[in-house]
């Protein structure tokens, strides 16, 4: 048993390159990887800024997290720097040290190590399927909330103000409007506006590369400004040289003091692990539905875990699957991890080659792209989409508003709790239908009979104080001990009132109920057909059950 599980885990743990049999158009894959690399560079730099890290760490994330995830995964999902993960890293570590300071960087890597460990635990416990209980509405709400946070945090750089945080977003707007209007840097603002305008115009032209168009426009505007007005006059901020190494090996600091302090990071590590896996698995599940890739969810969980665990050793912070880059990758026809692998190599090559060009990238242009990225994550169509079902809309709006007012971590918690609650409410709902026949009242039960659904059942029982009662259990999906106890208790009471409780069961249920000790008071009636087809709709129930009753 244990040996079998261990063998299965080992099989998942080793890269198997099973996709190479599907590899037919390797040129397509490599070109898709190139596009992915071009798309990820501005994102990596921006998300590093969101995480409070120097830009090169974001690029290392785009290189190494992508690389490990592609080597160990089985899908063409593009992993790498992720908005929600980056914001959460910033939120977790900023209380401990100043942005980008050596202690800060150490703590970030410690946090990413913990994220990797938590994700690997998820893999070992086969908990990947837990994430299907997080509703798509929650993921969309989290994404929209993260977009809002990104827009708010891009405002500082966009206006050329030094970054500041407030408890609530409207305080920030108030501070900017009331105190900082005369501090706004007009050059920074114009470059950012050019970037944003170019982005929105470019989206009309190309929905895939508009971010690149925006970055290019902002960069050119920055060049023109730098050519006409010198930096001491404009006081524009530039990206600066990035000291990119090909193998940025580093050992995370693991002293006792660090570990003591990093206890406070554990909730964040769990939140980041959950949100990273949730997003990645949504992407993977979509890929599985839309393409014919041979995707195993557990293997993807493992790949994410290992990628995030190894990331700190290569100066990269944690990442997750990326919706937009996976979409672009898919649109270009990539179906194997080869494109992801190519993307990570191309990032390394491109950044090495483009380094001197990127040096003079104005931070305002990057803030402009960040603004576009954030604004794109808040979609009115999402609200309309989820408005169809009330519970979905509540989950969406609650997680969005929680993130807006209380931060991403609490928003993620609320989203998870709400979607699990909605799920539990759905499955604990039993449909009951009462019918009066010659033999007495028949109560047809549909759904799971367990401790949470007993309330509904007992209400129905207490309405019947006279006459025999037959409970039809053939469409009950699950019966647990508390349901058995309930029947035994009720039957005893009914007997005292002179009533009889009949349970209409199939053979399996009959054996189960007897084994669980349902008692003498309950009359079990066996159905003729032991295995009724599982998909009979409720309307056909009557005809199906009458045969059982006649016996």
């Amino acid at each position: 048993m244990i040996a079998r599980i261990a063998r299965q885990l080992l099989r998942e743990a080793l890269p198997d390159f099973a996709w190479r049999r599907r590899l037919t158009h390797w040129r397509t894959e490599i070109f898709a990887g190139f596009v992915g690399a071009v798309l990820v560079i501005p994102q990596g730099i921006n998300f590093a800024w969101l995480a409070g890290m120097q830009p090169e760490y974001g690029l290392y994330c785009a290189i190494f997290v992508t690389l490990f995830a592609s080597l160990l995964g089985s899908s063409s999902m593009m992993s790498g720097p992720n908005t929600a993960v980056a914001i959460l890293i910033g939120a977790a570590v900023l209380p401990l040290a100043g942005r980008g300071s050596p202690v800060y960087v150490d703590f970030v890597f410690l946090l990413c190590l913990m994220v990797g460990i938590v994700q690997l635990l998820f893999w070992l416990l086969r908990a990947g399927r837990l994430f299907q209980y997080i509703s798509p509405a929650a993921i969309s709400g989290i994404s929209a909330g993260a977009g809002f946070l990104i827009v708010m945090s891009s405002l500082d750089s966009l206006l050329g103000l030094s970054s500041f945080q407030t408890t609530f977003f409207y305080e920030k707007l108030y501070v900017i409007l009331s105190d900082a209007v005369d501090l706004v840097n007009p050059w920074s603002l114009s470059i950012a506006l050019i970037t944003i305008t170019a982005g929105y115009l470019g989206r009309e032209y190309s929905s895939r590369y508009f971010l690149l168009i925006a970055v290019a426009a902002g960069y050119l505007a920055g060049l023109v400004v730098a050519f006409i007005w010198p930096q001491p006059v404009t006081e524009l901020e530039y990206l600066g040289r990035m000291p990119i190494e090909w193998l940025p090996w580093r050992v995370p600091t693991l002293t006792m003091e660090y570990l003591m302090i990093s206890v406070s990071l554990i909730p964040y590590a769990v939140t980041i692990a959950v949100i990273g896996l949730a997003q990645s698995l949504v992407i993977v599940r979509e890929l599985k539905m839309e393409t014919d890739q041979d995707i195993r969810l557990d293997k993807e969980v493992y790949a994410q875990g290992v990628a995030n665990f190894l990331a700190p050793f290569f100066s990269a912070f944690a990442g997750a699957g990326s919706f937009n880059r996976t979409k672009a990758n898919q649109a270009l026809g990539a179906t194997t991890p080869l494109s992801t692998f190519a993307a990570s190599v191309f990032v390394l090559l491109l950044v090495s080659a483009l380094g001197p060009v990127l040096t003079w990238m104005p931070m305002a242009a990057l803030a402009g792209t960040l603004f576009i990225v954030g604004a794109n994550m808040i979609k009115w169509s999402d609200v309309q989409h989820y408005a169809q079902v009330r519970s979905e809309l509540v989950i969406y709006l609650a997680s969005f508003l929680c993130i807006v007012f209380f931060g991403l971590a609490s928003g993620v918690t609320v989203a998870v709790v709400l979607s699990v609650t909605a799920f539990l409410l759905n499955i604990s709902r039993v449909e009951l239908r009462e019918e009066s026949t010659q033999a007495g009242t028949v109560l047809r039960v549909r759904g799971a009979l367990f401790y949470a659904s007993m309330e509904t059942l007992s209400d129905a029982f207490h309405r019947h104080l006279q006459g025999d009662l037959t409970v039809d259990l053939q469409y009950a999906t699950h019966i647990d001990q508390s349901a058995v106890d309930f029947f035994a208790r009720e039957a005893a009471q009914m007997r005292r009132r002179g009533q009889t409780l009949h349970l209409l069961v199939n053979a399996t249920q009959g054996h189960f109920l007897q084994a669980m000790g349902v008692g003498e008071n309950v009359r079990l009636q066996a159905l003729q057909d032991d295995a009724p087809p599982a998909t009979i709709p409720f309307a056909n129930l009557q005809s199906a059950t009458t045969t059982g009753e006649t016996r």
Binding site: P102, S162, I228, P230, Q231, E235, R241
Partner: protein, 259 residues
């Protein structure tokens, strides 16, 4: 009697014990396995000052380190020591503003390091200002520390002469800084595109002469005469180096194109 001596000894030792509770030295800090936020920034600042090429490469545009001019990592008197945190904010004629220590450090990156002015909240800037605060411990707030900047040379009665400066340079300086001023090994380039630009403080003849007289040749400071130092400074000042970033390239182009 014995007890009285003990109390006396304790009283005498008290300042010494107090001194031991002083801030730790950089070498002590470097050996600590764990540093709090302040001291880790101090150490980071120290690393930036001594090895700007590696630790602050983001904003450095030439081949210099901070410690190329701020000798001994900014602890040597008369060589632009960095223990000046108590003097800021202060008005400076260079930009006509009241400068905090942050702006002062950022301008160093722009002029002396011929790079990019970092943002106010760049980790590098904050680390160097933490290091400056660390070095300033014990100084009087608002007062000029002893040996600040470089000594002002007295009027020698003669103009600085670049031609004789060239001779002095070849004799005294070229063995380390190279005949073309390109710098050899740890000796930094003193002109050329890898050196400070025309906006830097060292581009002033008086500042450069004071620095050279007090500190150069390295280890044999004050061996040149005042006039020799002025001559060398004038010679170096005439050489090619990056342009002043305050000048607009656009206006230069206009001047060149328009008659």
């Amino acid at each position: 009697m014995f007890q009285r001596y003990l109390i006396l000894a304790a009283l005498l030792l008290a300042p010494a014990i107090h001194a031991q509770q002083d801030q730790p030295s950089i070498s002590q800090l470097l050996q600590e396995p764990f540093l709090d936020d302040y001291y880790s920034n101090v150490v980071y600042g120290y690393e930036i000052v001594t090895d700007s090429q590696r630790h602050a490469s983001r904003y450095v545009g030439n081949a210099l380190n901070c410690s190329s001019c701020h000798l001994q990592a900014g602890t040597q008197k008369d060589a632009l020591p960095l223990n000046v945190a108590g003097m800021y904010p202060k008005w400076r004629a260079k930009n006509g503003k009241r400068n905090g220590i942050g702006l002062r450090i950022r301008e160093c990156f722009l002029y002396s390091m011929d790079g990019i002015m970092p943002p106010e909240d760049a980790p590098e800037v904050l680390a160097v200002s933490a290091y400056v605060s660390y070095l300033s411990q014990g100084e009087v707030m608002g007062a000029e520390p002893d040996g600040r900047g470089v000594p002002t040379l007295p009027d020698t009665g003669y103009d600085p002469n670049p031609a004789s400066g060239r001779l002095v340079y070849l004799q005294q300086c070229a063995s380390c800084h190279g005949e073309q001023g390109q710098g050899v090994g740890v000796a930094p380039p003193v002109w050329g595109l890898d050196s400070f630009n025309r906006g830097a403080g060292m581009h002033g003849i008086e500042t450069a002469a004071g620095f050279i007289w007090a500190n150069m040749p390295l280890g044999r400071g004050r061996s040149l005469t005042h006039q020799q130092a002025l001559d060398v400074a004038a010679y170096i000042n005439l050489q090619i180096r990056p342009a002043d970033p305050r000048e607009s390239r656009f206006l230069k182009l206009l001047e060149a194109v328009l008659p």
